[in-house]
């Protein structure tokens, strides 16, 4: 009966090394332990210098994303047992600059998200006296799936295009744009499409489809992007054939 499993963890301490190195740790292999539990065990008992992000340990905050044996996962939702007999190679999410050990720099991602205007855009706000914006359950289902995103960035690590094209706005940002485009209270679709149909937008995507596979919340960013391509192409033809239409 195997009682321990080894973790090969990528370490990067910029004050000490210019290239990451791997360090092995032996941790108890418990049935109810996820990779994050093993990292916490290491930090508490073996090596307090290990750096990584986590918070909710229940797949909600989206901060514990890492590469486990080359696949992006939420470490709080991935059991050690699935990798037995090991070893498990734990690395920071790829396609991002590494700050330290398992911590990546997400500032570029946040900039991209912001560009999508991820809030309800109105041409004109309805006066307060008119009451709230109404929404039927059917209208809610239109976008609900895309609103489940927790910004864990696993899709950015899974997407080869993000690695190849640093400017590409990326799966989560485009799915988030769709979340608001499909919201009946929103009127910002045109502004978002203006950005997304240009370079670095939806047409950069070649539908590898890996983003939707790794997504822990079944957001299906790949589907969101393909639907966007169809819509933007239709818009393009419309504005070509009906130049006088309401733009």
């Amino acid at each position: 009966m195997q009682t321990t499993i080894s973790l090969e963890i990528q370490r990067y301490r910029p004050e000490q090394e210019s290239e990451p190195v791997y360090q092995s740790y032996e941790v108890p292999l418990r049935k109810d332990w996820v990779i994050l539990d093993a990292l916490n065990y290491i930090k508490d008992n073996l090596d307090g210098s290990l750096s990584y992000r986590w918070s909710c340990r229940m797949g909600v905050c989206g901060s514990c994303g890492m590469m486990a044996n080359g696949t992006p996962v939420l470490t709080c939702a991935t059991f050690l047992e699935t990798y037995a007999p090991g070893p498990i190679r734990v690395e920071p999410l790829i396609n991002f600059p590494v700050i330290r050990d398992l911590i990546i720099d997400m500032s570029e991602f946040i900039t991209k998200l912001k560009q999508m205007k991820p809030w309800i855009v109105r041409e004109e706000e309805q006066p307060l006296s008119d009451g709230e914006y109404l929404q039927t359950p059917d209208q809610l289902t239109e976008y609900k799936q895309y609103s489940m995103c927790i910004n864990c960035m696993l899709c950015y690590a899974a997407c080869p295009i993000v690695g190849l094209e640093p400017g590409f706005l990326g799966p989560a940002a485009i799915a988030l744009a769709q979340r608001y485009n499909f919201d009946n209270r929103d009127q910002g679709k045109k502004q978002r499409t203006e950005i997304l149909k240009e370079d670095n937008g939806i047409y950069e995507c070649t539908f590898v489809g890996e983003c939707s596979i790794v997504c822990p919340k079944s957001v299906d960013p790949a589907g969101a992007i393909q639907r966007y391509k169809v819509a933007a192409a239709a818009e393009w033809w419309k504005s070509l054939l009906l130049p006088w239409g309401n733009r």
Partner: protein, 138 residues
Amino acid sequence: MTINTQYTKFRPQRYQTRVPIFWWVHKWAHLRFITRELTSVFVAIYAFVLLFQLWALNQGAETYALFLAWLRTPISIGLHMVALLFVIFHSITWFNLAPKALVLRLGTKRVPDAVLIVLNYLAWGVLSVVIAWIMLKA
């Protein structure tokens, strides 16, 4: 992703990897992706073969017979068989992924992906039979 200098000015060095040129050989899913994209090469080659056949037809019965004779050479048959495999792979991947891009509605309900995929395959079958029938019988 590039480093935002605004934040890194007073901080230690970030470590950044580069994507290797042949990144797509390491993972089965990526290899499949590249293969899917390369089916387009065979699509284009066959479009040109078809064009060539029409050109031969245009030149008269003799040239057309020569063309048909070339089609019967083992090299041609081999190439066509390879191309056929790729083109069929294109059809399969295309039909399976199409529901991701196209959302169809009946009333307020979204038509399930599986139904769309089945409809795609049905259309493929029917059209193939129609093409064969027109080419050989009509």
